[in-house]
């Protein structure tokens, strides 16, 4: 049996590149800034918890992180968290990461990969949205390039 590869998932909203990512990221409650190098950051406060992104996804406003480059706790335990994204790693869809595994992780798989799509949230009580339930409630994307 030769399983046919499932067709790629196409999205109806043409969000692409840095602007596309920022639109989607803001829509789900994130903040962002764009700089050309980390040295020029105006507010260096959250740098202690900088988390390096493997990739970012424009359609869904997701940031892909993995446990080989970052401590898992760094993007999980603090109230706020800043992700550093290399602009050249922003892709269109989740499929551009999931279907191109070898591009992003050429060697052994990291023990954990996480697609982070906004701040920690819950609507478990009366469907009322509340952020920062367990993970960070404020998430900031720093895009370099």
């Amino acid at each position: 049996m030769t399983p046919a590869l499932p067709a790629p998932v196409h999205y109806s909203v043409p969000r692409r590149g840095i602007d596309g990512f920022c639109d989607a990221w803001h829509a789900i409650g994130g903040t962002s800034e764009r700089i050309t190098s980390l040295d020029e950051r105006a507010d260096p406060t959250p740098t202690a918890d900088l988390v390096h992104a493997t990739a970012a996804i424009a359609q869904t406003g997701s940031i892909v992180i993995d446990s080989s480059r970052n401590a898992r706790a760094a993007s999980l335990l603090p109230d706020r968290c800043a992700f550093v994204i290399d602009a050249s790693t922003i892709v269109d869809t989740p499929g551009d990461v999931l279907r191109e595994r070898a591009r992003w992780w050429p060697g052994a798989m990291p023990s954990q990969i996480v697609f982070v799509t906004g701040p920690s949230r819950s609507a478990d009580i009366e469907m009322t949205l509340t952020v920062g339930v367990h993970g960070p409630g404020r998430v900031h994307a720093i895009i370099i390039g």
């Binding site: 049996m1 399983p3 590869l5 499932p6 067709a7 790629p8 998932v9 196409h10 999205y11 109806s12 909203v13 989607a24 789900i28 359609q59 869904t60 406003g61 997701s62 446990s67 080989s68 970052n70 401590a71 898992r72 706790a73 999980l76 989740p94 499929g95 999931l98 279907r99 595994r101 052994a108 798989m109 990291p110 023990s111 954990q112 990969i113 996480v114 697609f115 982070v116 799509t117 906004g118 701040p119 920690s120 949230r121 819950s122 609507a123 478990d124 009580i125 009366e126 469907m127 009322t128 509340t130 920062g132 339930v133 367990h134 993970g135 960070p136």
Partner: protein, 461 residues
Amino acid sequence: MNDVAVRFVTRADRELRNDRVRAAVRHTTSLLAANRSTALDGLADPDAVRDSAHAIRRRAIDTLPQLLDRWAARATANGIIVHRARTAADAVRVVLDLADAQATAGHSPVRIAKGKSMASEEIDLNDALEAAGHEVVETDLGEFIIQLAREKPSHLIVPAIHKSRFDVAELFTTDAGRPIEPDVDAEAAYARARLREAFLRADIGITGVNFAIAETGSVCLVENEGNGRMCTSLPRVHVAIMGMERIVDTWAELDVMLALLARSATGQALSVYTNIISGPRRDDELDGPDEVHVIVLDNGREAIVGTEFDDALLCIRCGACLNVCPVYRNIGGHAYGTVYSGPIGAVLMPLLRPDDPASRELSEASTLCGACTEVCPVRIPLHDLLLRERHRDAPGDASRLRRVTFRLWSVAWAHPLSYRISIHVVRAILRLSSRVPKLARRAPGWAGAWTRDRVVPRVRR
């Protein structure tokens, strides 16, 4: 069968009288259904994606043994310890043994932080762990509320759908020993602080699994709060429990499933945290568990594979069918009296527990309107399966009168003249009952059985 059927009806009747819960369930399910519908528009061709998802899940069920073996071999090579559990008791035994190992290592009482997992509900894991003297804390906000209330989840995605913020404030106030305001942010803040401690002290983290991915021996777990990440990252031991059917072959297939799962469940493009776990902490990594165990749970599933009902195993537990079901929306999850509720529960429970009359009767808990089938992201023919279950369970001893009646009916409606005559007869009856209201409420003779629960509708001339 009859006295059992009364039990579901009795429970449903009780829930129907609970206006507060009904309003809450209706409010939540309406929002979720609307969110789902908007979110699917984010896909260029949602129907094509659903077709693709159906094909992926169908192939997974058709090749389940090979797929599981392939996944298990890779997972084992990655350092994951794979356990196969045929029954609920087997699965519980595995977890108890792992907890005992922690106790022997000097961590007593063993502290367990648990993420949301329907598979663990299926095997009544918490009761078993508590009976063995271990401390278990549910860490999903909704599940934590349910645990404090000593109840069972009543919705796949929103387990505390039936609790108001006032109910929650009461539960949290008792738990805290100080007043917690009936304000959702205040309640979430309390849960954050209270459960943070549980995460940091936990010896074992237990979670469910949304998908196993054969290609890399990984498991995927989606969640919004971060409690799943905590349970899989902070404790020394992570134990994941997965239904044996929750597997896909490749990451490309996972892409298709993820495009539908969160959209169908909550209306998000992706859940906040989509975790893909491929093993315990590697030597060059900074943190993560030393041991990862995955328990592959059968518990009645394998027996369904290959039967006319095995489309039920395509389910990805998004809860979309609950939100649109006129039965679920009116009676909520508890009336079903089983782990899974709503249309998928009504289909699945009689299959998973064929020897349990209370589960078996649930195929009656449907109007067969087909709303569930319409929204199912993996295109399970839910109402069709319910009908087939009813066929299977229908007693084969229909009376001669009944058999003859139905035979005549089918012959009559197959011919235009007799069909038209029958319509005239019905119209005459309706006209008569409109004039004589007493007849509409209490018809004479055997027709009275029909009007016992119904009123003949009034017709205009």
